[in-house]
């Protein structure tokens, strides 16, 4: 299935957000996930199923403030 993740089109076998994070080797605790502009609660990762063409944003904290 094809997904847009952080602006990149990727091919994945993951069916849920949690599986996607595991496939991408990302620890769920430290990130936030948005699917099609909707921010998910961490508790939703396990059950939230992905569909062909979903647009997903995975963000975390980085050093910075203002516009750097």
């Amino acid at each position: 299935m094809k997904l847009r993740v952080n602006g990149n089109i990727i091919e994945t076998g993951a069916n849920t957000v949690l599986e996607l994070l595991e496939e991408l080797n990302i620890k769920p605790e430290r990130v936030a996930v948005e699917v099609n502009m909707k921010v998910l609660k961490k508790t939703e990762y396990r059950d939230f199923t992905l569909s062909e063409g979903d647009s997903i944003e995975i963000v975390n904290f980085v050093g910075g403030g203002y516009n750097e």
Binding site: K41, F61, N67
Partner: protein
Amino acid sequence: MNDRLIISGIEFNSRLWVGTGKYRDFEETRKAIEASGTDVVTVAVRRVNILNRESENLLDYINPKKYKILPNTAGCYTVDDALRYARLAREAGISDMIKLEVIADEKTLFPDTEGLVKATKILVKEGFIVFPYTNDDPIVAKKLEDAGAAAVMPLGAPIGSGLGIRNPYNIKIILETVKIPVIVDAGVGTASDATIAMELGCDAVLINTGIAGARDPVAMAEAMKHAVIAGRLAFKAGRIPKKLYATASSPIEGMI
């Protein structure tokens, strides 16, 4: 003297808050933050690099158990963007605290105060503890207080300018006007700027460029630690009046 800063029931050990931008590397960031003695660290929210997972993460260096992580909405130029980043930040983190920035202009990085008040109202309704980065207009500060902000964070001078508290008079009026804590954000370029902010009666100071951009960020971080303590103590100690000379009968007005 117990002089703890408490905001929305959260107790802060330090009146110096620090940013994490513009450091050479994570190690320098860690050392500077440690030297500053702070327990509040602001961070930005950005996309995970999914193509290269090797890269280290800031939180490997800044232990969230040791420091209060205050996410910001840096780089947001609209209310919607700011709301989106604030909501993501809450999920990525563990607290409801958000340093709200609605930037109006990328040259000066001044806030869009109208959008700021709007976004504050919405986020407060959603249960956020909102720390809005604002200008030094006392009227806007009052609107933010009425909107439910936990504190106001007026700029002393433009972000990264190092000009200090350009208009102490406005800051003083803000302190007269609002009951919530006043935290000077942006403009502090050297230690005395932070001391002056605290002497005015501000509750805390947030510094990023002033420390990270110094020739020796770790030394400047330690300087800022002492500067904030000095200013707070001086404010509470009650300074002597200004006179043209000691034997002058009356205090002078602001002659220049």
